[in-house]
């Protein structure tokens, strides 16, 4: 702790009591920063619970709190859209976690012919912006190679393309490399098979990495916009985030309903972030510096 106290910051902020002027300035600036970055999000909360929010009078606290917006939003199928979003998020996240754990196990714990090419293939997908392949992807989803099945208008059409993500495979691989080989060798001597080593030794040791990959995976899936838009054949296939735009363009729908929808779309990502923020912020730094 004494080391932390002595550590000086670039601007030379001090934590001793004598420097109250600089502490006051810093406090003010911090309050300003928090307001600037959270204020716009807070207006969603107040507007969603305000019985008749007017875009000219958005505020940080509702004037007249009620749940009317959510009731009206329910009539506009908001729960259906939320359901679509949650099924996609759950399904795609589960798929993504299992796919990355399997792939990482092979990449980190095995040596095989062609390993370098596979690694390169994974890295290439990370350099390929999703937006760039959106148009041909929509054709592929409409007519899968070999099977010739169309996934258009199905939730599976959004889930499957999100199932393999280079970033989560990469993070998982880096983490699995750190597990000492001796543990595995001991298990082999004891006669454990491949699947047992994977399921009972490597997998449990990966729990911390699974947390990081899950937060990033969820954020990436929840952020999806173009993919659900091109997979959908009609508005009932929309995810909540995509539906917000069509709700807004509807003249019958007031800003209160859009705000209620926006709040419902915001809360899951906030919950996931707030519950795992430490590993999230740490993950950003390691992920970006290694990538």
């Amino acid at each position: 702790m004494s080391v932390a106290q002595k550590c000086e910051t670039a601007l030379g902020w001090r934590s001793d009591r004598s420097a109250w002027v600089s502490r006051g300035v810093r406090l003010l600036l911090c309050v300003g920063a928090v307001l600037f970055f959270t204020g716009p999000l807070l207006t969603i909360f107040s507007g969603a619970f305000d019985d008749n929010p007017d875009p000219t009078q958005l505020s940080l606290v509702p004037d007249n709190p009620s749940l009317d917006n959510f009731r009206a939003a329910g009539e506009n199928r908001i729960w259906h859209y939320l359901g679509n979003s949650l099924i996609i998020a759950g399904g795609a996240l589960l798929l993504q976690l299992s796919v990355s754990v399997f792939a990482a196990y092979a990449l980190a714990r095995k040596k095989f012919r062609g390993q370098a090419i596979v690694l390169l293939a994974v890295l290439t997908t990370m350099m390929l912006p999703e937006e760039v392949i959106a148009i041909p992807l929509s054709l592929v989803i409409g007519d899968l190679p070999v099977l010739h099945v169309s996934l258009k208008g199905t939730l599976l059409g959004v889930i499957l393309p999100l199932g393999a993500w280079g970033f989560s495979i990469f993070v998982m691989t880096e983490f699995m490399k750190e597990i000492p080989v001796e543990i595995e060798e001991a298990a082999t001597v004891d006669g454990a098979g491949e699947l047992r080593i994977f399921a009972q030794i490597v997998l449990p040791l990966c729990k911390p990495a699974l947390g990081v990959v899950a937060v990033f995976g969820f954020t990436m899936i929840w952020e999806q916009y173009l993919l659900p838009l091109i997979v959908a054949t009609d508005p009932s296939d929309y995810t909540l985030t995509v539906a917000l735009l069509s709700l807004r363009s509807d003249d019958q729908v007031g800003p209160g309903i859009v705000l209620a929808g926006a709040l419902l779309a915001l809360v899951p990502s906030l919950l996931v972030y707030l519950s795992l923020q430490k590993s999230f912020l740490r993950g950003i730094t390691t992920g970006a510096i290694k990538g």
Binding site: F37, P40, E131, L266, T285
Partner: protein, 317 residues
């Protein structure tokens, strides 16, 4: 091709080393075959999904960019004609210019504000952790949601939220998204607002890596705060800044959601960017060949950018 061969040799050598535990020739052979199949079984789901949803579309995109796509009539090979047409298109040229402006503005703006935030919030105190987590919230919120919120905040009347705030300091009212003069800048501001906290986290990590003795030495030499930042902090942050510039530039070039949600490219096409242009050419005008050519060009630029920066970084290191 050389990379392939070296990889094969590496792996071959490693397999020999690993397999030479002195067992029977037969047992050894069986074991080796087993170990060479298992990795592929574990990799199969990932590779299958990548091939179907990344590589096939990528190849298909390149192919389409060389054809005039005609449903029911069969595609017509047109060579590089699509590229010529899209590069010669006025609206697309304007969109390219705007994309670069938007990417540059968002990248630099986020970096500057992120740097200022990082300097402000550097430290170990618990309260700073709280402030950092709160400031980071815009990064986690989905872009589409943020777009909807800012549309309402940007309400183009004196009573609108941002205009009310501006009036406190004697500015405004501004039409924001409703005027071709201010729409692109308004979109840029939202991008900076969402991007700055992300940059802050990476810069904070960079600041944490700076040797404190350098600060002490600077103090003994009588350096001012400005000098300390100029000669100790900024040089130490150079690697982080390079990463941030690449990441943000790529993110900026492929911008789609925020523009689509905030303005849909309007008013009067004043915020149309590369990807929104490609999107409308593909799905509104149904010219898949031309749209694919636009996508392939964007990919080539982002790819070239990444590779250049990586090579530059490697040479420095």
């Amino acid at each position: 091709m050389t990379a392939v061969r070296t990889a094969g040799e590496d792996v071959g050598a490693a397999a020999n080393g690993g397999g030479a535990v002195g067992s029977h020739p037969v047992g050894r052979r069986r074991k080796r075959r087993l170990t060479s199949v298992t990795p592929w079984l574990f990799l199969a789901p990932a590779l299958l999904l990548f091939v179907v949803f990344k590589y096939v579309p990528m190849a298909e995109g390149v192919r389409l960019s060389l054809f005039q796509v005609r449903p029911f009539l069969g595609d017509l090979f047109v060579g590089l004609d699509n590229y010529v047409r899209i590069l010669g298109d006025d609206r697309f040229q304007a969109a390219i210019g705007r994309t670069f402006l938007l990417a540059a503005g968002q990248t630099l703006g986020s970096m500057l504000i992120g740097f200022a935030l990082a300097l402000l919030l550097e430290g170990h105190a618990r309260s700073l952790w709280f402030v950092r987590s709160a400031v980071f919230l815009p990064v986690v919120a989905a872009t589409a949601v943020i777009g909807e919120i800012w549309r309402l905040l940007y309400y183009p009347a004196p009573e609108g939220f941002v205009n009310t705030v501006l009036s406190f300091v004697g500015l405004g009212p501004v039409a924001f998204l409703d005027s071709p003069d201010s729409a692109l800048w308004s979109v840029m501001a939202v991008g900076i607002w969402k991007g700055a906290p992300y940059d802050m986290v990476l810069i904070l990590a960079g600041l944490a890596g700076i040797d404190r003795q350098q600060y002490e030495a600077a103090e003994i030499d009588g350096a001012s705060t400005w000098h300390r930042i100029r000669y100790v902090t900024l040089p130490a942050l150079r690697p982080v800044v390079t990463i941030l510039l690449t990441l943000a530039a790529i993110r900026g070039l492929r911008t789609f959601t925020e523009v689509y949600v905030l303005t849909g490219g309007g008013p009067a096409g004043s915020t149309d960017v590369w990807m929104t242009r490609v999107f409308s050419v593909a799905f509104e005008r149904n010219e898949l060949g031309i749209a694919s050519a636009g996508s392939v060009l964007l990919f080539l630029i982002t790819f070239a950018l990444t590779v250049t920066v990586q090579l530059y970084r490697r040479r420095k290191a």
